[in-house]
């Protein structure tokens, strides 16, 4: 190539240097800078105004609450005196989400590993598609399915759990009644968050650098050992993020929970007993018939859910950051 260039080739015109600085190039930069800066600011303003609105309305309700906002086992803002507390909702939200996570995360990681590392290619793609399809089902459909299919179907398994694992206290069923319990809600939520946790985990597992896997293979690792040595450590923070996305959905799920649960303002460690409530379910069930003050009370409970979600996400970030030095990302 060099030999074909004439030696007395004229020097490149200085115009080439100037072009980068011409007005048209700068204008594009400015427009884009303005757009991106504007969107960023807009987002912050939106977040701040939501927070201010929620806090203001919540404070109106809480200041006139005659019960204790955190310890009262009742929700009666329209009563005289007005009494409401979030204890039952906090308990129900956390318990049902924990059950959902305990079921969904191991299953999702298993499915993701199967799709990314075990399944033959012909099977992997349709399987991944079917799992993604689960995410497209509207939550009210899950709710109806839960109420019409899952609740009656679980009566048998509930009896079995009560009989053989009743000694754990958690699975002791002390009240008769259909399985409209926090446990059933947990199972339903697990099915609902399965697709998001699976597909994010799968993407992360597929991104494990080939050379990391070959390092393990060349040491004489079996397929499972390759996963243990290379895939899981690399995917760890991704799986945590995926779980947080799922947990966010489980904490805030409304319609499905409202359709399945038979709400009551009690806290019971017997997970199979019908009853309990969650923040989102309680808001959905009471918002329509609530007066101005009742709505403010519900908004106060929503604010607690908001803070809970923030805390959970913050904790997840801490877990990821603490082992950053060892994360696969800086390889």
């Amino acid at each position: 190539m060099a030999s074909t260039t004439p030696i007395d080739k004229p020097p490149a015109p200085p115009v080439a240097l100037k072009r980068a600085g011409t007005k048209s190039g700068r204008a594009g930069d400015k427009v884009f800078l303005g757009l991106s800066k504007g969107s960023g600011i807009l987002l912050l303003v939106l977040m701040a105004s939501i927070a201010v609105f929620l806090t203001y309305r919540a404070s109106l309700a809480v200041s006139r609450n005659e019960g204790n906002f955190f310890t009262t086992f009742d929700w009666n803002p329209a009563g005289d005196p007005p009494v409401f507390g979030i204890a039952v909702l906090l308990f129900g939200t956390i318990v049902s989400s924990v059950i959902a996570m305990a079921i969904a995360v191991p299953v999702a990681v298993g499915i993701a590993l199967f799709i990314s590392h075990y399944a033959p290619r012909k099977l992997a793609a349709p399987l991944a598609y079917v799992v993604d399809l689960l995410a497209a089902v509207p939550s009210i459909v899950y709710g109806i399915w839960g109420a019409l299919v899952l609740v009656p179907y679980l009566e048998g398994p509930n009896l079995w759990l009560d009989q053989f694992f009743g000694w754990t206290y958690l699975f002791e069923k002390t009240e008769v009644g259909v399985a409209r319990s926090l446990f059933t809600v947990g199972i339903l939520l697990a099915i609902m968050i399965l697709p998001i946790v699976t597909s994010v985990s799968r993407e992360v597992f597929l991104q494990v650098p080939r050379m990391n896997e070959e390092a393990a293979l060349a040491l004489g690792a079996t397929r499972w050992e390759v996963i243990r040595l290379s895939v899981l450590p690399f995917g760890r923070s991704g799986v945590i993020s995926a779980s947080m996305l799922g947990l966010g959905r489980a904490l805030g799920e409304t319609m499905a929970v409202a359709t399945v649960l038979s709400p009551s303002f009690i806290i019971s460690g017997h997970l199979l007993n019908p009853g309990g409530g969650t923040f989102a379910q309680n808001i959905a069930a009471k918002f329509d018939e609530a007066n101005e003050f009742g709505r403010d009370a519900l908004i106060a409970s929503g604010l607690v859910l908001f803070v809970l979600t923030l805390l959970v996400n913050g904790a997840a970030r801490l877990i990821i950051a603490r082992r950053k030095e060892y994360s696969g990302a800086n390889a």
């Binding site: 040491l219 004489g220 290379s230 450590p233």
Partner: protein, 258 residues
């Protein structure tokens, strides 16, 4: 310890594409054999057939025989996992396990093979790191991540990891191509020491390197792009670089193509 490799009539495919055709050669124990040849001639593919790493690539398959002493690596009852525990490999780009400490990286292969006492592990890890000329540089930070080392150190860490399990054969796929000249020199010195204990096969694009480190050199070539790679000749390194018996070898070595 070190074993002889005897390859006969070996062809490797990617799906229906024939990558290397009908290769036969013998690699002597406790020697360094270098593979040279233009890009795409199949020398890395051939190297990866020697520890059954070729078949982990989707569509990869192999025909022919590779005898390690008298055992065929492609025999009916041979487990590829066992083969890879016997024939170690070092890759083009250093690939320590990023989430593991230096110590755990070296111990990784041992932990796969069985259970060791803590003290046994420490002894083998120290011995392997000394063997890879890395001990003095890392002995104070064994519990720090391996990904924090320089490129040359990472590659020596990978060599330590490979020799910790005491393989019969050590395969090296362009181990210095991502390294600076000083690190390259360190690895080349190391290869000279390692051949006392292991049978070493190294793929390299650097002909000076082949001339410096190897006892025997194999030259691979392909007729045209898309045609399978073939072994042109294998001989004493000195002979290949001074008076090869095939014209194509001389053309390649003197820089007339490739």
């Amino acid at each position: 310890m070190a074993k002889r490799i005897d390859v006969s009539g070996l062809s490797a495919y990617y799906g229906s594409h024939l990558a290397i055709e009908d290769i036969s050669m013998t690699v002597e124990p406790r020697s360094v054999t270098a593979f040279i040849g233009p890009s795409g001639c199949g020398k890395s593919t051939f190297l990866r057939t020697l520890n059954r790493m070729h078949e982990v690539t989707p569509g990869g398959r192999v025909e022919g025989k590779v005898l390690l002493d008298d055992e065929n690596l492609y025999g009916a009852n041979v487990d590829p996992v066992t083969v890879r525990r016997t024939v170690g490999m070092v890759f083009q780009r250093p690939n320590p396990f990023p989430t593991m400490s230096i110590f755990d990286n070296v111990a990784a292969g041992l932990r796969l093979n069985g259970s060791y006492k803590k003290s046994e592990l420490s002894d083998i890890v120290e011995k392997s790191l000394r063997g890879a000329n890395l001990w003095n540089e890392v002995k104070d930070r064994l519990n720090k991540p391996g990904s924090g080392l320089s490129g040359g150190q990472q590659q020596r860490l990978c060599i330590a990891r490979a020799i910790a399990v005491e393989p019969e054969v050590l395969l090296m796929d362009e181990p210095c191509s991502a390294l600076d000249p000083i690190s390259t020199l360190a690895i080349e010195d190391l290869i000279g020491e390692l051949k006392e204990r292991f049978t070493i096969v190294i793929v390299t694009h650097n002909m000076q390197q082949a001339a410096r480190v190897s006892d025997r050199t194999a030259f691979f070539n392909l007729a045209a792009v898309g045609k399978p790679g073939k072994l042109i000749e294998i001989d004493e390194t000195e002979r290949i670089f001074s008076n090869p018996s095939v014209q194509a070898t001389e053309d390649y070595i003197s820089g007339r193509f490739g």
